[in-house]
């Protein structure tokens, strides 16, 4: 992988500021390069091959990159238009009942991350899961999905997953040998009640697993159960204890809150309940009447910050001061603050306080899990003071079993290892050798265990240091159960029998405890059933089988949600000392989980690696994010490799300048720099854990940043598109009214503000008479397309910019549904990524604290499609329902359509990206979608395969297609329901209603393309006390 220079010399940020200051009216900007017009920048522009094109274009290294990417390249079950050899047809020997060959089945289950699940319906084609849809019954997701869950189906088929039992010396072994060995060791420990026996897990919510661990601990009373995951709730837990004297978990009813203050919290994108919170939040921004208001104070720009009506950046160490100041405003007794607020900050918080008080009981203060305990305590106090408890906040007992302080728990284990006291260590699905705090030197201590075994999906860093590694089953391969954040249980059912010789944790325990003799699936089944048989309280009036069948079928177990508990503020918080503030000129370092690969567990997932990160739009790498101001002072630039020195430890990382990042602070995301992730994940990014100590897991002070003079190729989908755009993109974007924003006052005054920004040509301005029938009239009033009456279905889409948070799950869903290959870092860097959905991120206003707007952009299915007219072979044409069909097998690849598409939504297979790479990936492909060959154009089809299925079903049943019968992949994945798809001809359909909204607008409609996909303009609800003059929208 080549290190290619992004930019050699400095962006003149001062000049940028001036330019921004001198701006009249709105102007959007996308990347700093575009704002800078330095000669160096121009020089860079003129350099041949930015973004390391030569490597891409040299077949030699292309092949190597293909090899590397291989693992995640979808396999071409079909390549558009190549004559196929004689095919075999293989029936069942015994046909499974309820399976209709050729029809997919959906099974309710759940996919969890560190114990907390997202409820899904897994689509199974002839017994192979290919796609996950949200389960609307699941309380945490309500049918929404997050990127991790959506992409987990790729992990299932990942050829790099560990496949057999191995011993440290690399010898392939078997379960029986392992069990024999393990049981021998354990029996030897029985005499000493299991002294020296240790188990290490992540957070456990699974009742079955908990039950077994309990059983195990009963068998070995002296055994110790440790829990560790790098992203944990230690601080929150401590905070609760501080506030209430006991460990309780807060739950938020975001939908009930008129005013929300997120203090250093990314609650829309992180935390077990974030999908639900996001949905509730969006639901309150539908109409003028319901508009809520969001205040955010954070350090690193986040999705939540992007949705805020008012955001203030603050270095991590001052978050507590904000809490303190606000608490005082709310007449809560608190200790002396670490430091004062600046004037504008104080003004801001006072206004906020007023707003909160005005909305007693109808407001909400939330903070992030990684904030110090005292902040949590103060937040609890504020919610109490504001009377939110019982309204927007409620508390329950912790959902997880045996909740402990992860840091302490792991420290203890490390200690015992060091002391050589560990005779039997079982690591279940976590990877401390990689992500333990660096000062514990866990990797060095781990080998000291006399008998160590690792159960995991991958033979990872920890596996390498254990004597045994056991392949774990994917959650789609085994029986299990998990609890949602509110305690609601889901029974996980296997969609496919284990691809490899894997077993789940509960199956492993079963074998160790010698209970039901049968190994594997059946064992898991038995155990889970037993667990739930025991819950007789849930089965009043119904026999177990009925209960079980409904529970499994529904994907949730009714009545398992936890009851709220009464809490009262225990201690006088004035005693709780505020964290001391380090000296102001010290630069702090912030550790955050990566938005796409989290703590590193998804490092080998190509879809997630290639998914542009919500705000930085980087792919395949993490970077050290800094504020423009800091970069300015240190003379840093995107891609500059710096050396971070923190507490004597050094780490090299490329710089990324994040507009809106707090000054004097550098954010690094965890999860990269893996060495044993697999072919996809290895060697991407840098390992931030190497700086992360037990003492400061999320925030440290006194980091040194030194330039190395080297630069590093960062593949940012945003950067490579705008790197050559000094200053124009912003103006152009504004001139062209791609993003349309208004404050609710402006909107009240002029509801049609969005539509008044364009001129839509009338049909008479055309040389042609419109084609009979199929093309629908355009509604001059709304600029929206309204269909000609009685022309059957007319499909259309509407995207609500007020709800879109830019999380990117739609992109992954689309990739999964439509067999979209990943192309690898070099190709992305060169601007050849294949995802059909681009989420454009625009900034507006102040460089240090801009407003952020997201705009998903994909095929608009224009009624007068410019792409169709220029295709020489009619490979892209219109159908009578208004969908722009793309016939891959007819495409000869002139790319004329790509040029003539004003929205630039067409993606071309420059190379054979879909080249078969691993047999296990064959079955991942959606059989309903053609896999595209080399030299073929592709683009969003409105999930035509789903439309077709729905249509033929409807034609057979005789009932017309309703909204509920048909959802596109992006639509069903979207957690905030920002995407609406349906029949524009049906006045009852949700999409027609949305398109009738005065905020509805299409982009570039003055070209008379008549897009079928339109947008709902963004609304802001600023607090007049804070926002004096408005430069937004029109």
């Amino acid at each position: 992988m080549s290190i290619q220079s992004q930019m050699t010399n400095g962006i003149d940020l001062a000049a940028v500021r001036e330019r921004l200051a001198g701006q009249r009216g709105p102007r959007y900007w996308r990347s700093l390069e575009e704002l800078a017009e330095t000669p160096e920048f121009q020089a860079f522009l003129e350099r041949e091959f930015p973004n390391g094109a030569p490597e891409v274009l040299d077949p030699g290294s292309r092949r190597t990159f293909l090899k590397l990417m291989g693992a995640s390249l979808a396999l071409a079950g079909v390549s558009g238009c190549t004559s196929q050899p004689g095919e075999k047809i293989v029936p069942y020997v015994r046909a499974p009942e309820q399976l209709i060959p050729g029809k997919p089945l959906f099974y309710a289950t759940a996919i969890s991350k560190s114990g907390f699940p997202v409820g899904v319906l897994a689509e199974s084609h002839m017994g192979r899961p290919t796609m996950l849809e949200g389960n609307e019954r699941h309380p945490d997701s309500l049918g929404g999905m997050d990127t991790f869950t959506q992409a987990s189906v790729l992990t299932l088929y990942d050829p790099d997953r560990s496949q057999v039992v191995t011993r440290r010396n690399g010898k392939i072994s078997t379960w029986d040998l392992f069990l024999h060995e393990a049981v021998r060791v354990l029996n030897a420990r029985r005499s000493s009640k299991g002294q020296g026996v240790h188990i290490l897990t992540e957070t456990v919510t699974s009742p079955s697993l908990a039950r077994q661990i309990k059983a195990f601990l009963e068998a070995f009373p002296e055994a110790v159960w440790h829990q560790y995951q790098p992203v944990n709730r230690d601080q929150a837990r401590a905070g609760a204890k501080l506030a209430f004297g006991r460990d309780v978990t807060p739950h938020y009813q975001v939908a009930k809150a008129d005013v929300i203050f997120a203090l250093g919290s990314d609650f829309l994108a992180q935390g077990p309940g974030h999908l639900r919170w996001a949905r509730d939040f969006a639901s309150r921004r539908e109409t003028l009447e319901s508009m809520n208001r969001l205040y955010v104070v954070d350090t690193t720009p986040t999705i939540t910050g992007g949705m805020a009506d008012h955001r203030l950046p603050a270095v991590g160490h001052r978050v507590a001061d904000f809490a303190n100041f606000l608490a005082r405003e709310l007449e809560i007794k608190v200790a002396e603050p670490g430091g004062p607020l600046l004037e504008h900050e104080a003004h801001w918080v006072r206004a906020l306080a007023k707003d909160l008080k005005k909305n007693q009981g109808k407001c909400l203060v939330v903070t992030g899990d990684d904030q110090p305990a005292v902040v949590h305590a103060l937040v609890h106090a504020m919610n109490q003071a504001l009377g939110n408890v019982g309204n927007t906040v409620s508390y329950t007992e912790p959902v997880e079993h045996g909740a402990v302080d992860h840091q302490e728990s792991l420290r203890a284990l490390a200690g015992d290892l060091d002391a050589g006291k560990v005779e039997f260590l079982m690591v279940l699905g976590t990877n401390p050798a990689y992500h333990a705090p660096v000062d514990l030197n866990f990797a060095q201590k781990l080998p000291k265990a006399q008998f160590s075994v690792h159960l995991g999906l991958y033979e990872d860093e920890t596996a390498a240091l254990c004597q045994w590694h056991l392949p774990e089953t994917h959650e789609l391969e085994a029986w299990g159960d998990v609890l949602a954040s509110d305690g609601t249980a889901t029974i996980q059912q296997p969609l496919i029998s284990p691809l490899y010789d894997g077993r789940s944790a509960i199956e492993l325990f079963a074998s160790l405890l010698g209970e039901p003799s049968r190994p594997g699936l059946e064992a898991g089944y038995e155990i889970v059933r037993e667990t739930w048989k025991a819950r007789s309280d849930l089965q009043v009036g119904i026999d177990f089988e009925t209960f079980w069948r409904t529970a499994v079928h529904e994907g949730v177990v009714e009545g398992t949600s936890l009851k709220p508990v009464e809490v009262k503020l225990a201690a006088d918080l004035a005693q709780a000392p505020m964290p001391k503030r380090p000296n102001d000129d010290a630069i702090e370092i912030v550790f955050r989980p990566d938005p796409t690969i989290w703590d590193g567990r998804y490092a080998n997932n190509g879809w997630l690696q290639e998914l542009p990160k919500p705000l930085t739009k980087l792919t395949w790498d993490n970077a050290a994010q800094v504020a423009p101001a800091l970069a300015e002072r240190l003379g840093l630039n995107n891609g500059d490799v710096v050396e971070l020195e923190y507490e004597g430890r050094k780490l090299e990382a490329p710089i990324w300048i994040s507009p809106g990042h707090a000054d004097r602070s550098v954010t690094v995301t965890l999860g990269y720099g893996r060495t044993r992730a697999g072919r996809v994940g290895n060697g991407t990014g840098f390992n931030a854990y190497l700086l992360r100590t037990a003492a400061a897991p999320s925030l440290g002070s006194g980091v040194e940043i030194r330039k190395t003079g080297r630069t590093y190729l960062l593949a940012g989908t945003d950067l490579h598109r705008n790197v050559m755009a000094p200053n124009e993109t912003g103006e152009a974007a504004a001139e062209r009214h791609l993003i349309r924003v208004a404050t609710i006052d402006e909107y009240r005054k002029d509801p049609k503000f969005a539509q008044e920004m364009e001129h839509v040509p009338s049909p008479h301005e055309s040389l042609y008479t419109e084609i009979e029938g199929s093309v629908d009239r355009i509604d001059r009033e709304h600029g929206a397309t309204l269909p000609a009456s009685g022309s059957g279905y007319a499909w259309g889409m509407s995207i609500n910019l007020n709800a879109c948070m830019g999380c990117g799950v739609c992109v992954v869903a689309c990739q999964a549904e439509n067999n979209i290959p990943i192309v690898g870092k070099e190709q992305v860097a060169y601007g050849r990524e294949m995802q059909w959905l681009d989420i454009d991120r625009y900034y507006q206003g102040d460089l240090d604290n801009p407003e952020t707007y997201h705009q998903p952009r994909t095929c608009m299915h224009c009624e007068n499609a410019p792409c169709e007219v220029v295709c020489p072979v009619a490979a892209t044409v219109h159908d009578d329902e208004g969908i722009n069909n793309m016939v891959y097998n007819r495409c000869v690849g002139t790319r004329y359509c790509g040029n003539n598409c004003p929205y630039k939504v067409r993606h071309f297979n420059f190379f054979h990206y879909s080249k078969p790479k691993a047999p296990s990936l064959v079955v991942l492909n959606n059989p309903d979608v053609t896999v595209r060959a080399r030299g073929v154009m592709e683009k969003c089809t409105y999930c035509i395969q789903r439309v077709n299925e729905a249509r033929s079903a409807a034609q057979i049943s005789g009932n017309p297609i309703r909204d509920s019968d048909l959802k596109t992949a992006c639509q069903s994945a979207c957690p905030t329901r920002a995407i609406v798809f349906g029949d524009v001809n049906n006045p009852e359909s949700q999409v027609s209603k949305t398109k009738a909204d005065p905020r509805n607008y299409g982009i570039l409609t003055d070209l008379n393309t008549r897009p079928r996909t339109t947008y709902l303009a963004r609304l802001r609800n600023p607090n007049p006390e804070i926002e004096t003059e408005s430069t937004h929208g029109v």
């Binding site: 079950g77 079909v78 558009g80 238009c81 004559s83 196929q84 004689g86 095919e87 075999k88 047809i89 293989v90 029936p91 069942y92 020997v93 015994r94 046909a95 209709i100 060959p101 050729g102 029809k103 029938g773 059957g792 044409v877 159908d879 009578d880 329902e881 969908i883 069909n885 016939v887 891959y888 097998n889 007819r890 309903d928 979608v929 053609t930 089809t941 035509i944 395969q945 439309v947 077709n948 033929s952 034609q955 057979i956 005789g958």
Partner: protein
């Protein structure tokens, strides 16, 4: 001076016209080849692990198509019978005929029989049995007189051209729903009239049957 013998005059003319005719002929041959069984595999009998006779099972034993092709009305895929379906009868009759050994082996070793696909459309063409069967396209319309086939063969070229022929004028092939599985159904004299009624009755959107999405995704 004279460079060429007199004969060259004739030769030159003949060769010029010859070339023209040859080129024309060649094009015609290519055209024919692409419609010939050599390419379309129409009427070509495929080797099968078991010489299964549709003729015997349909005509002689009077089995209905759906007995084996169970999902034809519900799914895109008509369905190939599981071994156990064969064994429902063949555990009683022909129990030790060597011809059926592969079937019994399949049952014994729980290994599927690997048939050779007879009707193999390109993977980018998506055909849906259910919709055709439910709208009155008879089995024989595409598969021919299966009840007269001792060994299975493809009856039609199944080129795009051929599909379109019917998608353009379904009335020429539609039949009443109840006759879809009727092997002996013959179009009545007033087929076109009948077809038009059926189109109305079945709400078949004829104008849209030639849209690309109908078969390609």
């Amino acid at each position: 001076m004279q460079v060429f013998p007199p004969s060259t005059n004739t030769i030159s003319r003949v060769s010029i016209f010859g070339a023209l005719f040859f080129a024309g002929g060649l094009l015609f041959v290519v055209y024919m080849i692409f419609r010939s069984p050599y390419v379309t595999q129409a009427h070509v009998v495929q080797e099968q692990p078991v010489p299964f006779s549709h003729e015997h099972h349909v005509t002689a034993l009077g089995l209905d198509c759906r007995y084996c092709h169970t999902s034809v009305e519900k799914s895109r895929f008509a369905g190939i019978p599981a071994t156990e379906t064969c064994m429902t009868c063949h555990s009683q009759i022909w129990v030790n005929s060597p011809m059926l050994e592969p079937v019994r082996r399949s049952m014994r070793n729980n290994e599927p029989i690997r048939w050779n696909r007879v009707h193999d459309l390109p993977d980018y063409a998506y055909f849906d049995h259910a919709i055709h069967v439910n709208k009155g396209v008879g089995c024989t319309s595409c598969h021919g007189q299966v009840d007269k086939m001792p060994l299975m063969r493809k009856e039609e070229p199944m080129t795009m051209e051929w599909c379109l022929a019917c998608h353009r004028q379904p009335e020429r092939h539609l039949r009443p729903i109840e006759d879809v599985f009727n092997m002996d159904w013959v179009p009545p004299k007033d087929q076109l009239a009948l077809g038009r009624d059926l189109i109305k009755k079945q709400h078949i959107p004829v104008d849209r049957l030639t849209n690309c999405y109908v078969c390609h995704r």
